[in-house]
Symmetry: C2
Subunit: 245 residues, 2 copies
């Protein structure tokens, strides 16, 4: 694989530590470009590869027997999916599809990955901690579905988009279609539209995919004041630092 | 620790495999009895122990800054909580309280646990797979909160209670108070009561904590027909086997 892809991977939390342990694995990673709606992995297939988003967006979806599609995850640059590849004899519990025409994904072969984990207990502990973080994030999402209102859940999603941009007023673009975000947040598309309107009360204006946030701190107070993760949330912390700067 | 506790632990999935690897750890496990509402671990404390329920029930709870308590987990015999103890420098992301007067919990010290994982890559892979299962279960719960109706979610909870009992008609008792189950299922107590009434249409009758299920298969059809896990769910499989037998 190219040096460029190795250096991209090394900028992500999964690979930035224990580089020696990743050594042989990285030599087997290849990257692939996907067009809009291309299937990257399929629900039920043997988990042969761990996937890391290099650019673009990926949606993780599941289908119910009565035909409802749910978006169970939305992955951006640096996010990992297909973690079933870490476990022997596992199959993917969801399908992954590219969103937009600019999606590039690094594919890490399961066999090399598991061999590296077997040979390096430090690497294994590191990956285990990342799995722990993933459990925690999923549990937090379950909690938020009970404790936060729809506008607050949408507000939390917007805060996460703001995180990397900083400043006390922001212009952002919704990265994917609104019905996908609605499904990911566990609400109907019409609830998402209504929630966006309600956020107008604290200075948030939407025009198509474009969102302007007059006061990030006001949005934070509206969302985080009702969230059980408040005081321990990385997004909250980074935004507070950014708006103070 | 007593031989009785070691043999109890060895009957649970976490410990039933890789017994050699668990050897030294099991020597450091102690068990403790808790009374109703006793705190077993506290949100934010350094994660010093992995906990395994030996008997009774345990609720895992989180508080929001505005004072709402959410039940993020309900653990019965054999269930594990406090998995933050697997990771260095982690703190518990929830508090755990005993339900009822009969709760006994095995406490596995984090330092011995992590040393064993470090020394035994097979054990480490086994624990990682269990973490993977936990991620999957949390993601499934997120999906169900979007795709299943409140009566279907309650139905799924009842099916899990039925699992170990078998037969095509069942009498079960709600193991914990209804408002705790409601919070765990992400619904208001009055929604749970209404959902129980709606399940009357497929032969489910409730009298206080006592539930009679006239036809487990009818309940399965009502719930699993709308669930993305159908065909891959262990509860569904075991119940189908039991009602066929």
């Amino acid at each position: 694989m190219s040096v460029a892809i190795v250096s991209k991977l090394q900028s992500f939390p999964l690979f930035s530590e224990h580089l020696a342990g990743w050594g042989t694995v990285l030599g087997h990673v290849r990257s692939k470009h996907f067009s809009h709606d291309d299937a990257i992995i399929s629900h039920g297939d043997a988990a042969g590869q761990l996937c890391v988003v290099l650019s673009g967006w990926v949606k993780l979806v599941r289908l119910t027997p009565d035909g409802k599609e749910t978006v169970v995850g939305l992955c951006a640059r640096g996010d990992v999916f297909g973690e079933a590849a870490l476990f022997a004899h596992a199959s993917y519990p969801y399908s992954a599809h590219a969103i937009g025409e600019q999606t590039e994904v690094a594919l890490v072969p399961a066999s090399e990955l598991r061999a590296a984990l077997h040979n390096d207990p430090e690497l294994s502990a590191h990956v285990m901690a990342l799995l722990g973080e993933r459990i925690h994030n999923a549990q937090l999402k379950i909690e938020q579905m009970s404790t936060l209102s729809a506008p607050q859940r949408l507000g939390c999603f917007l805060l996460n988009l703001c995180k990397t941009q900083g400043g006390s007023a922001l212009e952002i673009d919704m990265p994917v279609e609104k019905h996908i975000i609605a499904s990911y947040l566990g609400m109907k598309p019409e609830t998402l539209s209504r929630s966006l309107q309600q956020l107008g009360g604290i200075g948030i204006k939407a025009k198509g995919p474009h969102i302007s946030i007059a006061n990030v701190q006001a949005l934070q107070e509206f969302v985080c004041g009702s969230c059980g993760e408040s005081g321990m949330c990385r997004t909250e912390e980074e935004l507070t630092d950014a708006t103070r700067a």
